[in-house]
């Protein structure tokens, strides 16, 4: 199958890739661009470890074709910290001990980022509902929920 030349905008940087149309954004991020912070697991949009932001919205990159991302902005975990400073959500995960093995965390952080930009004052119940599409096999979610609620307050205060 013939390849297509694509220009992708990832974390504010332009990347040229040459790829087949069936390849997913997840695959191109990890294999072609070496951005392995975005994780891979179920490949069926169930677990959320592959979550990235596409034009600011959380999507499962395992079911998005790379060709569909032409001309759109992709944000991965590698682009969340700015100028070497952790994002308040990342800091909150550390402060609350919300990370165990860490595999689910990039997806968690990106889901939380898109969510808190709209609803910084979210309650724990709303946060838990939002996290439905991000599975964690380690933490039991309590510390993750605490971290996201706290980060929401920090984001709101920073405005």
């Amino acid at each position: 199958m013939s390849k297509v030349a694509l220009e992708l905008c990832i974390n504010g940087e332009r990347h040229e890739v040459l790829t087949e149309p069936h390849r997913t954004l997840l695959d191109v991020l990890r294999v072609d661009l070496g951005l392995t912070g975005t994780k891979e697991n179920c490949l069926e949009a169930e677990c959320g470890v592959c979550t990235v932001l596409l034009d600011g919205r959380a999507v499962n990159s395992c079911i998005v074709l790379a060709v569909q991302c032409r001309g759109r902005a992709v944000l991965t975990i590698e682009g969340v910290a700015e100028h070497g400073a952790l994002h308040p959500i990342q800091q909150a995960f550390i402060d609350h001990g919300a990370v165990q093995c860490g595999y689910c965390i990039p997806g968690m952080i990106l889901s939380a980022k898109a969510f808190l930009e709209e609803r910084p004052g979210a309650t724990e119940a709303e946060v838990r509902e939002m996290l439905a599409g991000n599975l964690c096999r380690c933490t039991g979610y309590q510390k993750i929920a605490d971290a996201v609620v706290a980060a929401g307050r920090a984001v709101a205060a920073g405005r």
């Binding site: 149309p21 949009a45 999507v59 074709l65 060709v67 599409g133």
Partner: protein, 286 residues
């Protein structure tokens, strides 16, 4: 997966490509079903026609009737302020689809074309007497949603036809809608049973003049419980009438038993959830 990728930039071009490739092509909307089916090898289209650059297909229009473009996402339905009143049931259907990543991209058109008996938005649309519009090589046609849904995974869409919109009248007067879903957990779960209801009361608020009850996951397609509707129409909306409707719906549905629930349990859920959805509508009149 191996296919040629196309990105039409106008409705005419999308319809053209659809007609040209017919059964060899598939439209790609949110991809939450199609990409997964393709990866599993269940479908292997030679041409994939992504719709995301077709202008206007994601519009919600309200003027006497509501027109949802086929690419309207569950997220957009959830957030449409005009749906908070009499159309609250539509929001309730959209807000329980998958997780937020799924709702951000999954569309109403994909929910319909999938023709899953367990779809969550379809029952609400059925309860609203929705019609759908398809455009293909032979031009445009409009069908009722009910006649469009044929069996699990199959609609009356002709090969290559593009679903462009779903339409329904804006509910008037003393009308309320509600949607309830039972799954094994609260979120990210396929419905074991789901119920959509629409009730209209007469001007005095005493009697029910129109009732619609549509159920998911209890028949090969989303199913209207007509007998239950008839039991309600023309009568006061008493708790007994609502329970009777629940029993009629449970008796009339044809659920299967599968990994999620037995047929018997599904019937029990119908008997319980129908009166509950009706009571939720009634509460909304207050």
């Amino acid at each position: 997966m191996s296919f040629q990728y196309h990105e039409p930039v106008s409705l005419a071009e999308a319809v053209d490509l659809g007609a040209r490739f017919g059964a060899d092509g598939r439209f790609l909307a949110g991809g939450t079903d199609l990409i997964i089916q393709m990866r599993r090898g269940k479908v292997a289209p030679r041409h994939v026609l992504s719709l995301h650059r077709v202008p206007g297909l994601d519009a919600i229009e309200l003027n006497g009737s509501v027109r949802l473009g086929a690419l309207v996402t569950h997220r957009a339905i959830e957030r449409c302020a005009s749906f908070q009143g009499r159309l609250r049931g539509l929001v309730e259907g959209a807000e329980v689809v998958g997780g937020h990543q799924i709702r951000n991209v999954g569309t109403v058109g994909g929910n319909i074309i999938n023709a899953s008996p367990a779809a969550d938005v379809v029952p609400v649309l059925l309860a609203l007497d929705a019609t759908i519009t398809c455009v293909g090589a032979d031009g445009e046609r409009t069908l009722t949603l009910e006649e469009f849904l044929l069996e699990p995974g199959r609609t009356a869409r002709r090969p290559g036809e593009l679903l462009t919109a779903v339409r329904f009248a804006v509910p008037q007067g003393r009308t309320a809608t509600a949607f309830l879903k039972a799954g094994r957990r609260r979120a990210m779960e396929i419905s074991v049973v789901c119920v959509a209801a629409r009730l209209t009361l007469d001007a005095t608020g005493e009697r029910c003049v129109e009732a619609r009850i549509a159920l998911g996951a209890v028949a090969p397609t989303t199913w209207r419980a007509r007998e239950a509707e008839r039991l309600l129409e023309g009568r006061p909306l008493t708790p007994e009438a609502m329970r009777e409707a629940g029993r009629a719906a449970a008796a009339g549905c044809r659920p299967i038993g599968d990994v999620r629930a037995s047929a018997r349990y599904r019937r029990l859920l119908v008997e319980t959830l129908v009166p509950r959805a009706l009571a939720r509508c009634r509460k909304r009149f207050e």
